[in-house]
Every structure is written in C-alpha cells, then in structure tokens.
C-alpha cells in the first residue's frame, strides 16, 4: 500500500467524521461528538505515557480535573470573556503540577508508579471535595460563563474541534519525532537507553509533563460543554475509563485510543441509558479486551487486513 496514503488515511477519516459533525444539526449528536473529541484528546495524551513509554498511570484524571477547575473557576471569577485565557492557564498549571508529581513518582518502578499516581489523584479528589469554600465541594461549579462567541452548542463544538485538532496534530508530531522514538525505546529496554547515554528519568518526566499538559487542555474544554464541573472528574474511575478506552481502541496505534473513545462513548449513550449497571458492562468489556483482544480494535482490524492480504499478521508486536 502507498505509504503516504496509509499515514494520511486516519487524518482524512478524522476530518470527514468530526469536521462533518459541524454540518450535522442536532444538540444531542453535537454533544456526543464534543465528548468524543475531548475525551479522545485525553486518551491520546494518556497513551503517550501508556502505549508509547510503557508507563501505566492510574491518576491522569488529576490533570483532567485540574484543567477543568482552573478554567471553570477562573471564568467564574473573572467573567466569561476570560474563558479562553483560563483555558491557556490550565496547561501551565498542569505543567507545574506534573513536574512535581512526576519527579516524585517516576523514580519508582511499575506497580509503585501506578499506585502512587492513583494516590495522588485520590488526594486531588479529596482536596477538591473537602475544600468546599474554594472549589464548591461535592456540588462542583455550575453556570460557568463563556464569551458570547462560544455560547451556542455548534460554536463551542467548532471551537473545541479546532483546539483538539491542533493538540492531536502536536501529539502526532511527537509520536513521529526523535523524542517519540526514544520513548518507545524506553518502553522496550530502559537499560539499553541508559547505556547509549540517555537519561531515562528525564525523558519519562518530559513525556509525563507533555501528557499532563494536553490532558489539562481536554479538562478545560470539558468545563465549557455543560458549563458545569464536579469533583468526579478527579476520581479514579475516570482514569480507569480512559485506560479502558485506550486499550479498547489499540494502545500501539496512534489513533487507536480515539477509536476506543468513540466506541465507548457511543456504547455508553446506548447502553448506559438503558441500564443502571453500566459499570458492570464496562468491567465485562475490559475483561474481554484484556483476555482476548489486548491489541484492541486496531489490532483486530490489522489482523484481518493481514489475512486478506495473505501476508499474515501485521501487528505491531510479535
């Protein structure tokens, strides 16, 4: 297959589907589409850590919540005209926090790293809930003002689409950059990375900071969808769902997590409304994916594409 076409095809599909949504009228579909691109940005940022570098963080929700709260609280106190400025402060706050948390947690290996990130996120959640005079506590923040230009559902979707596309483009560049190559090397053989003269910890830290920064932008955008935010954005099931969506779509492919998010959000829209046992369904999907399809939807389709092409599997991993 033409190599150039192969790289551009996912982008083409992305613009057709999510750009096309601009011409689809209907509050509900736009709402779903906004959720997909915003959570998609979250999942793609998360995958810089997980699929690329091999770091399972169970606490990326802390940066999602941080982004949402920074944006929401600033817009609330300074007025709607400052919404976009607030959205720019969110990633800066995330960079500051991620340098601190990353320096503490990235020195630890595997399971310790995972658990420490989880603990940090729960701590963030605890502070948000308890410090109610500042954060609104359990109730969160409602009626977050936005500038008039971004008020309508369609306008806000277009705005989100532009921001998300820009961010995804940067993440895509990162994936194909020399830094991205080093991160993949760290996943496969960190010892060798040190023995060719590169500092594993510092590369991991930068990956963590970049991932957290884009996650905070996603969180900030979320604050504008329903104009309300709540402490649940910090909670560990948020991180857990993002992990699930990422493997569901395929963690070894750049656009895999976005596909996972789309499938998940659409399923939630259909099944989540019909049952109060949505968590059960998520758990069942997760077990199925982990046991039977660890390479996700992208892995499965590549496998079948490989069968048809009579070349055998073309999977990323042997």
């Amino acid at each position: 297959m033409n190599n150039k076409l192969e790289t551009m095809a996912p982008w083409l599909a992305y613009f057709l589907i999510f750009g096309g949504m601009i011409f689809v009228r209907g509050e509900h579909s736009l709402h779903i589409a906004s959720q997909i691109i915003i959570l998609g940005l979250f999942a793609l940022s998360f995958n810089v850590l997980f699929g690329t570098t091999g770091l399972l963080s169970f606490g990326q929700a802390i940066f999602y919540g941080l982004g949402a709260y920074v944006t929401g609280m600033m817009a609330k106190s300074f007025g709607g005209d400052y919404f976009v400025w607030a959205l720019l402060v969110a990633p800066v706050a995330a960079i500051a926090l991620s340098v601190l948390l990353g320096a503490l947690s990235l020195r630890l290996s595997d399971v310790y790293f995972t658990m420490l990130t989880l603990a940090f996120a729960q701590l963030g959640w605890g502070i948000t809930v308890k410090w109610s005079s500042f954060t609104g506590g359990d109730d969160g923040i409602q009626a977050i003002p936005k500038p008039p230009l971004l008020a309508g559902g369609l306008n806000y979707y277009i705005f989100s689409f532009i921001v998300v596309t820009l961010c995804i483009y940067l993440l895509w560049r990162l994936d194909r950059s020399s830094f991205g190559a080093v991160l993949k090397g760290i996943r496969q053989n960190p010892t060798r990375i040190s023995f060719i003269g590169m500092n594993v910890f510092r590369h991991k830290l930068l990956a963590y900071v970049v991932s957290s920064c884009f996650t905070a932008i996603a969180g900030g955008l979320y604050a504008g969808i329903d104009k309300s935010i709540h402490p649940d954005m910090f909670v560990w099931t948020m991180s857990g769902s993002i992990i699930l969506m990422t493997i569901l779509g395929g963690m070894r492919s750049f656009f895999g997590p976005l596909i996972g998010v789309a499938v998940f959000v659409l399923l939630e829209d259909e099944i989540g409304r019909a049952t109060q046992y949505w968590s059960f369904v998520i758990g069942a999907i997760m077990i199925t994916v982990v046991l039977l399809f660890p390479k996700g939807i992208v892995g499965i389709s590549r496998h079948f594409a490989g069968l048809f092409a009579k070349k055998g599997g073309q999977l990323d991993n042997p």
Binding site: S177, S178, G180, G185, Q188, R192, F195, N199
Partner: protein, 250 residues
C-alpha cells in the same frame, strides 16, 4: 597512557565478596581479555566500570579522572560503552531504528519533541556508516527479534560502536554462537580494534579466541585478579594453571 585504572576495588553481594581488591591498568589501544571460571565476577567488574553498580570502596579512573559511582549515561558520553552478554536490543524495532536511537543519542538530537525524526541527515549518515561497516546493510529493515542469534550480537556491538567509544567493553561476544559465527565475530573484533584504534576489553570463555586475539589477558578467580600478561605468560603462570586451567580443560 593509561585509559582505565582500577585501584583496590571491592564489592560484596550479601556474604559474597565478588570483587576482591582489584587493581589494574589498561593502556590506550590495548586489546585485553578477561577470563575466569563462571562466577569469577567478570560481569560484576564490567558493571562497576560502566556505572551499573557502584563498588563498595576503591576507585575507578578513566584517562586519569575519577569515575567511581558515575551514572551509566554520563560514562557513555565520556566514551565508555559496552555490549551485553545477552544482546540488549530494542526488539520490536528494525535494525536501522536500533542504530538510529544510538546515533540520535550520540548527536544529542533526542530532545526534539515535535520535529519529524527523518530530518537529521547527520544521524542518518552515521547509521548508514555503521550498517555498512558491520555488514548489516541487507538486514536494516528486519526487526531485531527476527535476526539470528549471531546477528543480534553483532547488532548489539553495532549499537555500542555507534556511540564512538574510546573504551569498548564486550561481555562474552561469542556466547551461544556457532563455530562459524565465532570465527566471524573474532575477525570483527580484531578489525574494529585496529581500524578505530579502540581500547577494547572483552570477557570470553572461548580460549582459542582469547589466546588468538588478546594482547593482554587478565585472569579473575573468585573475585580476585590472580594474573595478567600476554598469552605465553598466562599459559605458564602456575597460579593460573592451578586455579583455572586445572579445572577447565582446554
């Protein structure tokens, strides 16, 4: 000039004394072999020199500068590079990409976050040169896990050479190889030693290779350096005959 010097280096693992007061000096351009029975502490010695572990006491000096306890990555930048007993590769990447990562590190291009990786011409030329020199050109598109065992060891050394070492440490370069591959590897080591005027230290069990290749041989037994000298001196050394050659029939 002495490239690498160890002064009274000691290391314990629990109750085991794995490096016993080791002192040695390796001259620039020397091709030296370290031999010794299994468990003699050869890999531990490599780990101490390359910064993977820190000795309990004693000093390690590189070109006169103390490097005891330094991090592997800073030692690599100074020119101390190693290859591994079990080839340490990026197994899911192609041969080319394995070298690419090393060349990237050598040229300091590893921090470019958003620039496409293909733009670095110096890195690409560097990789090509190493590929050609080590005879891996035809295999550059294969993934590392697809290579034969011998080629994986060659790639491991190729990664080390990409770092343009001043001191190259090879941990059992012919381990697990067929006789054919051993001969090729022996030639390769001698050739790169001569071509790059490289100070080379290798650990080896294959005595034909050791006595046929090394300028100087050092014998390590139970963590202790019991002899050093050229092939004839070692073969005639009574301590070596007693402690080593007596057990392991050549």
């Amino acid at each position: 000039m002495t490239t690498l010097e160890l002064r009274r280096v000691n290391k314990h693992f629990g109750g085991l004394h794995v490096s016993k007061n080791i002192s040695l000096g390796i001259e620039q351009g020397e091709l030296t072999a370290i031999i010794g029975p299994n468990g003699a502490g050869k890999t531990t010695l490599f780990n101490e020199i390359t910064g993977y572990i820190t000795p309990d006491n004693g000093g390690i000096f590189f070109n006169g500068m103390e490097i005891t306890g330094a991090e592997p990555e800073s030692l690599v930048k100074m020119g101390i590079v190693r290859a591994f007993q079990v080839a340490s590769l990026f197994y899911d990447e192609t041969v080319y990409d394995n070298l690419y990562l090393a060349a990237l590190a050598y040229h300091g291009k590893n921090w470019n976050i958003f620039a496409d990786r293909k733009v670095f011409k110096d890195v690409e030329e560097h990789c090509r040169f190493i590929l050609d020199r080590l005879g891996l050109s035809g295999k550059e598109g294969l993934k590392a896990f697809e290579l034969s065992h011998g080629d994986q060891k060659v790639l491991d050394i190729a990664i080390a050479l990409t770092m343009k070492p001043k001191l190259l440490l090879l941990d059992e370069p012919t381990a697990g190889m067929s006789p054919d591959e051993r001969v090729k590897m022996t030639h390769l080591i001698r050739a790169i030693h001569e071509e790059f005027k490289l100070t080379t230290v290798f650990v080896e069990h294959d005595m034909d290779m050791v006595f046929g290749t090394a300028d100087i041989i050092r014998v390590l037994v139970q963590g202790e350096l019991i002899a050093e000298g050229n092939a004839r001196e070692i073969q005639e050394n009574p301590a070596v005959i007693e402690a080593y050659l007596g057990h392991e029939v050549l």
